[in-house]
Amino acid sequence: MPEEVLGPNILEVENLKKYFPIKGGFFGSTVGEVRAVDDVSLYVREGEILSLVGESGCGKTTTARCILRAVDPTSGSTRFRMKDGTMVDIAKLKETELKPVWREVQMIFQDPFGSLNPRKNLLEIIGEPLYVNGIRDRQTRMNRVAELLELVGLRPEYMHRYPHAFSGGQRQRVVIARALALEPRLIIADEAVSALDVSVQAQVLNLLLSLQRRLNLSFLFVAHDLSIVKHISHRVAVMYVGKIAEMAPTEELFRRPKHPYTAALMKAVPIPDPTLRNELKGLPGEVGNPANPPSGCYFHPRCAYATEICKTKTPELRTVGPDHSVACHHAEELNLDGIGELKSSPMTEALSQPDASTGNAPPS
């Protein structure tokens, strides 16, 4: 929302590339490469939630992992503003120099069952980053763990329990508490709520939003669910086959998408409102193959507006408005539909009115 004041850039990614070699032939020579991340540039401001959205295989997770140096990028730079204001290029750091950066950038993963060690209790799990970073006194660690558990809405007494005692939503809170242990300033959340049930997902989304506000955290929120992305983020970057297709403030992107792929994604999402039933428009064909991407614009075989230039020339990501950039040759000429104004439908109206049927006094 515009009233929130956003700071300077905390993260600037420029021309990031990650190519995975395909081994084959005799002697295991490299016969090709998978362009998982292909020239991605983006930035995150301090206190901002940037969502990275796209379908499976579009490279959103690899981008996130490259930023953190969980995998080494092939080329490009990822500059991060440390707490003291200096900019460091994470992509160029030696492995031994990464530790101070990892204190300030943390990651939350999708699967809360796979990311917690079942043989350690919460005190050990959440206390481990503290121990590694020099807090050797057990009592100090216990106090800090209790604080962190309270911060994410769990009872401090739980610190002696093991992960199996917790439900999916609670485990994800534990994962978040561990990520917050070292007071990071940027959190990379990779599909952090995708594995949760709807009723629990809302709890975790609320938690992430309140943490962001209270601690002025910055988020890179990797997701595939557009409704969640629209709900949580200040800005959105849409990825398609390793490239950024469009990046814009959330409202602007959903109201006036400039890239045909963005518009198609929005059209394809089933809206949970039977009064807004319309034809779901899929796209012809399938997501392009990053090992053998189409020529020119990677989206052209599925694009309804493609012309000759789209088949031959790869469009650059260029600025078309304040904070709005898009990689499409025809961005200016196209008049694409977004999801429209925030209008109320018969369903939202019916739900917002106090319903006569529930106003009844319950039978005693």
């Binding site: 439900s167 609320n206 557009l226 019916a350």
Partner: protein, 345 residues
């Protein structure tokens, strides 16, 4: 609920499917009742552990050991060749008997969630469709092949004749899902059960598959039982909806009615907690307190009462409310009526 709906083709009455384990009995499905009418899409929606998949497996007698249907009826109006109809209680059939094997795939077909795991990687998709056709119909191999190609064309498989000889691993996710739908349609079943058919694929491909299912339902008048956790898919596709929680039906009715006038607190909470493309951004979402309980620690009375904001102490935690008509839909909640289910003996 007395609007125009077709005849009932499948009637599930008080179905109970339990899993005895060393630690106790898991009551995965515990008294589920609903009707599927001719030519409608009935959506079954619920979160993990609500028993939606086990209900569907029970309908096909595919519940794995140690699970067992312990009570209730699954009345299926079997109508081969459109002449005489017989009523079969699937719950009474032997899990491996001749009759259920005829019904499975022949009268009731399943579209599973994971198409990769549903085809044999060693046989071409065409030969697997031919096998299904020849198992249920008395036709020659040539005729079966013709039917298979016809079905592949019907589901929009590009160059179906060539794809007949393709293996499942040569197809992309969307095409594989189309092939599995062709396999399900092979014997002209009267009921299609779709178990989260689009959960494993991307949104732009999902939209294609949903449109395909809509078209098939329009053209053939098939009855579809659609299981999903995605309320958006239900809103866009289903005519009627059954909302399940912990093995029980909480509410059921026409989609247009249930989504605009949810009467059960669980349905309300579920609808309120999803961020929608049309809702206000970055606000706090209304949530349901707590999480889904462990299957062995089911609460007494109404299973939703510990999380329910409107629970009535002394009532909801003691007895299970019956599923009764409330205005246009059916609701199992003491806020709307005061009839309880008799306690189990």
């Amino acid at each position: 609920m007395n609007e125009d709906r077709g005849d009932v083709v499948l009637s599930v009455r008080n179905l109970k499917t339990h899993f005895p384990t060393d630690d106790g009995v898991v009551k995965a499905v515990d008294g589920v009742t609903f009707d599927l009418h001719q030519g409608e899409v009935l959506g079954v929606v619920g979160e993990s552990g609500c028993g939606k998949s086990i209900t569907m497996k029970s309908v096909m007698q595919l519940v794995g050991k140690p699970g067992r249907i312990v009570d209730g009826q699954i009345l299926f109006k079997r109508n081969r060749d459109g002449t005489n109809t017989e009523e079969v209680d699937i719950a009474k059939l032997r899990t491996n008997g001749k009759k259920i094997r005829e019904i499975r795939g022949g009268d009731i077909a399943l579209i599973p969630q994971e198409p990769m795991a549903s085809f044999s990687p060693l046989h071409s998709i065409g030969s697997q469709i031919v096998e299904a056709v020849m198992l249920h119909q008395d036709v020659s191999k040539q005729e079966a092949k013709r039917i298979a190609i016809e079905k592949l064309n019907e589901v929009g498989m590009p160059s179906a004749e060539q794809r007949f000889d393709a293996y499942s691993w040569q197809l992309s996710g969307g095409l594989r899902q189309r092939a599995i739908i062709a396999l399900a349609l092979a014997c002209n079943p009267s009921i299609l059960i779709a178990d989260e058919p689009t959960t494993a694929i991307d949104v732009t491909t999902q939209a294609q598959i949903l449109e395909l299912l809509k078209r098939l339902q329009r053209e053939h008048g098939s009855s579809i039982l659609f299981i999903t956790h995605d309320l958006g898919v239900i809103a866009q596709l289903a005519d009627h909806v059954v909302v399940m929680y912990l093995g029980r039906v909480m509410e059921q009715g026409a989609v247009s009615d249930v989504f605009t006038h949810p009467r059960h607190p669980y349905t309300r909470a579920l609808l309120a907690s999803i961020p929608s493309l049309h809702s206000e951004p970055r606000i706090e979402l209304p949530t349901v307190a707590g999480g889904i309980p462990h299957p062995l620690q089911r609460p007494n009375g109404c299973p939703f009462h510990p999380r329910c904001p409107d629970a009535i102490p002394g009532t909801c935690d003691v007895a299970m409310p019956k599923l009764l008509d409330v205005e246009q839909s059916k609701v199992a909640c003491f806020l709307h009526h005061d009839e309880a289910e008799e306690a189990d003996a």
